[in-house]
């Protein structure tokens, strides 16, 4: 049976449509996906992301461990609270998972990894942690919610005392802090400002209910997917996996190839870069009516074929958008096979939407 988060009863009472996702029973939508999407772009929405796996890495050797298993530049962790997005790579440069790592202090970092990859991630991290004297503790005692949207930070700050609110509102983008027993981070997966809050499981129901009472809209996985795609953010398992390198997944910016960090997968990525990548991940905007969906065939004139990896209707742009993996030379106009028809689409550089505004001409 699928696992349940500490908010399961709250979702059921709210009449959410539940689906299994990554081994968890999660809300797909509470009512209208479009309304939930727009709430995040225009005011504030709250997501239960307690299915995600929070892992604390503690010990004197933790920075050295991260230099080995985390493909982003660990020397960017200069100030406690700093968060970095990056990948765990295998020796072939394939993506084991994508994750956010938070620098709490020199002895203690926190990673948040995907639910569906939890077991293999814990095994991989644990296998390497031992030789660095680092303990790996899954924090299943914590729940996690994401409060996202232009009004999100103010709504969360109102749930903290004056000193805590001041500290939370002072956080820079992609930074977090321990505040009154909660870990509050200015991170998210929507392209909007907001906080992700990790807190003891027995406190999450009252925080959720207080936020909803203050007008924050409960949002499910349906809106989470349309928001992340508009924001140009990859979904593990759809846009990249162990057979895709970050260079083929639009994630070159997360890879520490400019530093001397000897992370696992580095040699494979250097070799791939030297010979040139054959495929790349691009954004697509559909020029006609219709909806792009994963696995549709993409035809790039003079360059060959590719495939949509994630596609949806963009509620903000009122047209369909997608990620597609295409031959490296492809650019400009392409066609996508939707059922029996070939529809015109255009390659664009993600994101499609940031802070409620279109990034597409």
């Amino acid at each position: 049976m699928a696992r349940r988060t500490p908010l399961f009863a709250v979702h059921e009472r709210a009449g959410a449509r539940m689906v299994e996702f990554g081994g968890w029973d999660m809300p797909l939508q509470y009512g209208s996906v479009l309304a939930e999407h727009h709430a995040v772009r225009r005011s504030a929405g709250v997501f239960d992301v307690s299915h995600m796996c929070i892992v604390d890495l503690d010990g004197a050797g933790v920075r050295a461990l991260l230099r080995k298993i985390f493909a982003n530049d660990v020397s960017k962790f200069t100030t406690p609270g700093k968060a970095l997005y990056g990948c765990l790579l295998n020796a072939h440069g394939g993506v084991i998972d994508d994750l956010i790592v938070y620098y709490r202090n020199e002895q203690s970092f926190r990673a948040v990894v995907n639910a569906a990859t939890r077991a293999k991630d814990l095994e991989w991290i644990g296998r390497h942690a031992a030789s660095f004297g680092v303990t790996v503790v899954e924090r299943s005692d914590l729940a996690m919610i994401a409060v996202q949207g232009p009004e999100a930070r103010a709504r969360v700050a109102a749930r903290l005392d004056a000193r805590g609110a001041e500290r939370a509102l002072a956080l820079s983008a992609f930074c977090g802090a321990d505040i009154d027993g909660w870990f509050v981070a200015r991170t998210g997966y929507t392209g909007e400002d907001g906080f992700e809050v990790m807190l003891p499981a027995d406190q999450v129901q009252s925080l959720w209910q207080d936020l909803v009472a203050a007008g924050v809209v409960p949002c499910g996985l349906g809106a989470r997917d349309t928001l992340r795609l508009e924001a140009g953010l990859n979904l593990y398992g759809s846009d990249m996996d162990e057979h895709t390198s970050p260079l083929e997944a639009g994630l070159a910016w997360t890879v520490a190839l400019k530093s001397d960090q000897a992370f696992i997968g580095r040699e494979a990525l250097e070799a791939q870069r030297a010979r040139g990548i054959e495929r790349k991940l691009v954004g697509l905007v559909l020029q006609e009516r219709g909806v792009l969906r994963a696995h549709q065939r993409v035809i790039a004139p003079d360059h060959g074929e590719g495939e949509v990896t994630s596609g949806t209707f963009s509620p903000t742009l009122n047209r369909s958008i997608a990620f597609a993996r295409v031959p490296a030379g492809a650019d400009g106009a392409v066609q996508v096979q939707v059922r029996e028809r070939l529809l015109d689409a255009r390659i664009v550089k993600p994101p499609f939407v940031r802070h409620g505004k279109s990034c597409i001409d």
């Binding site: 209208s32 009516r289 969906r293």
Partner: protein, 129 residues
């Protein structure tokens, strides 16, 4: 509880059929179907002149999450697809039995095995339970 108007006929695949005064029929998807699909963002209706067989996929409705086929509840020739749905697919959510009609057809052969409102109502109640 979804609406099931008593003057329409229904299919097990959640289409409805209304016989018009001139003997042609209007078809669409039920309130139960639109609710299960969620916000509809794209609708592909059949072109006039196309001949369809009962049970054949003849329209496509797409929600944010997925594309679903709509099956012809009768065999016949398409007189018109609803042109208003291209610019306003949400009409299927707000008025599935009225402005959200998908197509009008000239019936070739009398349809077999359609459900009454009472029968369709029981079917959807069983599905929900």
């Amino acid at each position: 509880m979804s609406k099931v108007p008593s003057d329409l006929k229904y299919t097990r695949t959640h289409e409805w059929l209304r016989t018009l005064p001139d003997g042609s029929v209007e078809v669409g998807i039920t309130d139960h179907a639109q609710h299960a699909l969620g916000d509809l963002v794209f609708v592909e209706v059949p072109e006039a002149g196309r001949t369809v067989a009962q049970g054949e996929p003849f329209a496509v409705v797409e929600s944010v999450k997925a594309a679903s086929d709509v099956y012809a509840p009768v065999s016949g020739e398409v007189i018109a697809g609803n042109p208003a749905l291209a610019g306003a697919p949400e009409t299927l959510n707000t008025d599935p039995y009225g402005a959200g009609w998908l197509a009008r057809l000239r019936v070739h052969t009398a349809p077999g095995a359609l459900l009454s409102a009472a029968e369709y109502g029981r079917l959807t109640t069983e599905e929900t339970d």
